[in-house]
Structures are given as C-alpha cells and as structure tokens.
C-alpha cells in the first residue's frame, strides 16, 4: 500500500523499558535494520513505561494514562502520527489505551484529570496510529523492495515463528486485524512468516504460534512458565525448526530463561535456538552478526548460524 509506505517512512520510535534491558539485541537489530533500509526512527523524548500488565493489574486506568502520555508526546511533542513499538507489551498497551480512550468515559476522564495535573496536553483518540515492527517493515519498506534488498539470505534456515499472546489478543483492541486482504490474522498471524520467507527462511508448520509462554508469571510462578515454555520448545523441535523467531521481548527472554530452567529443574534438554526476527532479517540483509547483536542473546545461535554460513 503506497499510502502506508509514505506514512511509515518516518515514525516515532517507542522502544520501551525492556529494549533497554534484557531485550537490548531487539533494539540493536531494529535500529540496524532501519539504517540499512533508510527508514527513519525518531526516538520519543523523555518517554515513560507503557504500564505493562503489572500496572494494569493494580489500576487499569493508570496503565491507560501511562500509554496515553507516550502517544501524547509523539503527537503533541513531535508532530508524529505513527508510533512504532517493537515490544509486544508496549504495542498491546498503546492499542489498549487507544481503544479504552475511544470507548470508555471513565478512561477518558482519568486521562484528562492526570494529564492536567501533570501539565501536558491530553491525548485524544485517533491522534496517532500505533504499529508493530512487523507492520513497519512489511508496509513501510514493502515486501517487493525487501526481496530486492536481501543479500545472502537465510539459506533455507528452518524457522518456527512465535508471536505469543499480546500481538493478537484480545481481538477488540486490534480493529484493523482480521479484515481480509493483507490485514493480519489473529488466529493465524503470518506477517513474520511473510518477511522471513522473503529473507530465505523455510517456515515450519508450527501449531503454537500464539500459545502463551507464561510471561506474566515468568518469575512469580516459574514452574508453570517452565512447563508452558517447554511445550513451545518441544513443539518447535518436533516441527523440525532450527530456530524460533520472536517478536516480543517477554516471550524471547521467557523462552531463553525457561529453556535453561527446564534443563536444570526437569532435566529436559532442548536445543532449538531463540532469535529475534529483526536479527534474522538483518543477517539476511547482509549485516554482520555483531551489528544485529547476536552475541547479546543468552541463547547462543552463533555456531549454528556460522555453520550455515548465515553469519
């Protein structure tokens, strides 16, 4: 869609807390791709946490307010009408805040009240469009253009694409999905599959694309999370995957952590590697392993990628 190509060429970049901490490689590789593809990322000045699931559990309207502040900064502070969030948590929360502000008077009232006290412009529904890194590359750069830009490629690397929960659920906060045509599907998401196929990967038949990794309780109920993650890892291996591609920092670090924990606590060993989709895409575009932060991952995919001559 040429219209979106224009719109997503320069976006407000909301990387959020996780991408400064455990998910640094996601940040590194996203920025490297932007540079390589000439897409402009403008950091949101003086941003705050989106509220995540934790603040929602304490007070849902405060989570809505926190996300609204970020969108207000993009719209009022920077004059941007698109916010790109690679983190599923941030993406989900901004979408949820957008829905709640548009549909709930209580949410609107709280956002208005706190914004006034905090002395910044109120965010109004519809002022920005929140997109995921997947939308950004698929439509902002374009699939045909990406095909032409692939250098080296993924050489038939077998990939299980793992989207997790927050990218598609609950459905009502994603009104643009399930609309037919090239819109994303909430039951069978495929944007990551599409991009990695263009990059030369072979996507395996993976039934647990939107299964839950137990990320909400990764520390507070670790035994449950370990069992959920083990399911995902074993399903990916059974499907013949070399790597699991991720697009969510919570899923990614959960998979890494519980792969180790499953070995330690349940003596269940799995060897599938866990890599951010932006890292795979960067490698396929000819960026070095270091440029996409492969060495920053806990899951060590370097020997695998070297043996396949991808890195």
């Amino acid at each position: 869609m040429p219209e979106r190509k224009e719109k997503y060429k320069k976006v407000a970049y909301y990387h959020g807390c996780a991408l400064e901490g455990t998910a640094q490689p996601y940040n590194t590789s996203t920025r490297a791709i932007a540079k390589k593809l000439d897409l402009e990322l403008v950091d949101i000045e003086n941003w705050n946490c989106c509220g995540a699931m934790e603040v929602k559990n304490i007070d849902p309207e405060i989570q809505t307010y926190l996300s609204s502040r970020v969108m207000s900064l993009a719209h009022n502070g920077m004059g941007q009408d698109v916010v790109m969030a690679p983190c599923n948590g941030c993406y989900h929360n901004l979408k949820k805040a957008e829905y709640d502000i548009a549909n709930s008077k209580k949410s609107r009232d709280v956002v208005k009240k706190i914004s006034a006290k905090a002395d910044h412009p109120v965010y109004e529904a519809g002022q920005v469009e929140t997109i995921h890194a997947l939308d950004w590359i698929k439509f902002g750069y374009g699939e045909e253009e990406l095909k032409a830009k692939i250098k080296g490629g993924l050489k038939g690397l077998k990939v299980a694409n793992y989207y997790g929960c927050m990218y598609t659920r609950p459905r009502h906060i994603f009104p643009e999905k399930d609309q037919g045509g090239d819109s994303e599907s909430t039951s069978q998401p495929h944007y990551m599959d599409d991009l990695l196929e263009i990059a030369g990967a072979v996507n395996v038949e993976f039934p647990l694309k939107t299964a839950c990794c137990g990320g909400a309780h990764t520390l507070s109920d670790s035994d449950t999370s370990t069992r959920l993650v083990l399911n995902i890892l074993q399903a990916a291996e059974a499907a013949g995957a070399d790597v699991i591609a991720t697009e969510c920092p919570t899923c990614h670090s959960g998979l890494e952590m519980h792969q180790i924990r499953a070995l330690k606590r349940l003596s269940k060993e799995t060897n599938v590697k866990i890599v951010y989709f932006t890292q795979l895409l960067g490698l396929a575009l000819g960026l070095s392993a270091r440029k996409v932060g492969i060495h920053e991952n806990v899951s060590n995919s370097i020997p695998l990628l070297k043996s396949r001559k991808i890195a």
């Binding site: 807390c17 996780a18 400064e20 901490g21 455990t22 003086n46 941003w47 705050n48 946490c49 509220g51 995540a52 699931m53 934790e54 603040v55 559990n57 304490i58 007070d59 849902p60 309207e61 405060i62 307010y65 926190l66 502040r69 709280v110 009240k113 706190i114 006290k117 905090a118 002395d119 929960c165 659920r169 609950p170 459905r171 909430t186 299964a211 839950c212 137990g214 909400a216 309780h217 520390l219 507070s220 109920d221 449950t224 999370s225 069992r227 959920l228 890494e256 952590m257 519980h258 180790i260 924990r261 330690k264 606590r265 060495h295 920053e296 991952n297 806990v298 899951s299 060590n300 370097i302």
Partner: protein
C-alpha cells in the same frame, strides 16, 4: 450399595463405616457407604456484586456458562483444577465457601487472554480472574500472591520514576517474595550471557542497575498517579465493606 463413578464425588464426602446399624438393620460392609448430604447454608448474596466492583470483574453478569473460557485456558491445560467457567458460576451463585477451596490457585491466571478471545459474551474472564484474586487478598482469605508482589514492585518503580529497570525488578521481587537470589537457572543464564557479551554491555547493564533510568520532570505526574490509585483503592475497599487502610 457400592457407589459407581466415585471420582465424581470428593473423597471427604464419601462416608464408609465398618459397623453400622440403621433402624435396627445391620448395614455393615457393602451397604455402609454413603455420600454426605450437600446442604449449602452460607450463600454470600453480595459475592457477584463485590467481584463486579473490582477492576476486570465488571462484566461477570453476562456469562451464560458455555465453558469456552475453560476450554481455551492455558493454565487449565496443565492443571484441570483451574476452571474459570466454574468459578464464575460459583461467584454468581454466591457459593463463597466452595470458591474458597480453590483460593490458592486462582491467582495463577497467566493473562494470555485466550478466554477473552473465545468468550461469546464479552465477559472478559481474564479480568474476572484478576478481580477474584484481588478479592481473595482484600478479604484476607489469602496472603498476597507472588503475582501481586511482582505487580506491586513493578508499579512502585513506574510510579516513582516513570520507568522500570529489569535487574532491580528481579532482585527486589526475589527479596520481597522471600526467595533466594542465587537461583540455579539464574546463575546459568548469567554465565551464558557473560560468555558472549562484550565488556561494554556488562558495564551498561551494571550502570542501569546502579543508576535507575528515570523520566524527567516526573514529580507532578507521580503525585497525580499516587492520588488516583489511593482514591480507587479506597473506593474498592468501601465496595467490599472493608475499613479504610491507614
């Protein structure tokens, strides 16, 4: 008479007697097994209203018991006792004591929202699970769960500084939930990470843990958020008929 399908009855409700005489008739042996008569006398007629007064519980009244939530549930797949459809039923019927039997597992909802996705009535069962877990804690039927301890630490950091820092969350959570900091998986994870990482990243991570990232000019925002949360919490306690917290 022998009871068939005993698995449908809770073991504590099956009464057997070695020797039993009823109305002068000796029913020892095969005929002495009975099911405890089930009489519910402790309905809490306010239960549904109380849950509906907490965030997430608002739409519980819409449920028509189709069971799509339990069928879709991530946690139910690994623990059949985890049954959102049943808990919604108990809450709507006011069967508090029956609900309390499962009080130690309700907080384990992982918020994957598969239930919300499957629900044909927009009950938002994920929210109902959170509301129920909070209700159990507010009524002091359970101690704060690990989930709540984590949420509170996370929220405390966000409210204070506008941002969170992973390392600090992990350390404070383990401390607050009285777990040892040196977990075998954590040591292994750090080992694997350090093996691959250049020194500058380690330095950066240490820096972030020591000097927490902050949103600038946050004081007014923080005050407004704290004030709002305090008001909401007071309203929630009032809705449950509880005294205000000091």
């Amino acid at each position: 008479m022998a009871i068939h399908e005993k698995h449908l009855i809770r073991p504590e409700n099956i009464k057997t007697h070695d020797n039993l005489v009823i109305d002068g008739v000796d029913v020892s042996g095969h005929w002495s097994t009975f099911i405890e008569t089930r009489v519910v006398t402790d309905y809490n007629e306010q239960l549904e209203e109380e849950i509906a007064a907490l965030p997430g519980g608002e739409y519980i009244h819409r449920c028509w018991q189709c069971g799509s939530c339990t069928n879709a549930c991530t946690v139910n797949a690994i623990n059949p006792e985890f049954n959102p459809r049943y808990w919604i039923y108990l809450i709507r019927m006011g069967m508090e004591s029956e609900l309390l039997r499962d009080k130690e597992i309700i907080w384990q909802c992982v918020s994957c929202n598969k239930c919300t996705y499957a629900c044909p009535r927009d009950v938002f069962p994920e929210g109902v699970m959170k509301a129920t877990a909070h209700w159990l804690e507010m009524k002091e039927h359970t101690a704060p769960s690990n989930s709540t301890i984590f949420d509170e630490e996370f929220t405390r950091q966000v409210v204070q500084t506008g941002k969170i820092e992973d390392g600090r969350i992990l350390m404070n959570f383990l401390k607050n939930s009285k777990q040892p900091l040196f977990q075998d998986w954590l040591i292994e994870m750090v080992k694997q990470m350090v093996w691959n990482l250049p020194v500058k990243y380690l330095f950066g991570m240490g820096w972030a843990t020591l000097f927490q990232p902050k949103t600038r000019s946050w004081a007014k925002t923080r005050a407004a958020i704290e004030e709002h949360i305090a008001e909401e919490k007071a309203a929630e306690r009032a809705a449950l008929g509880l005294d205000p917290v000091e």
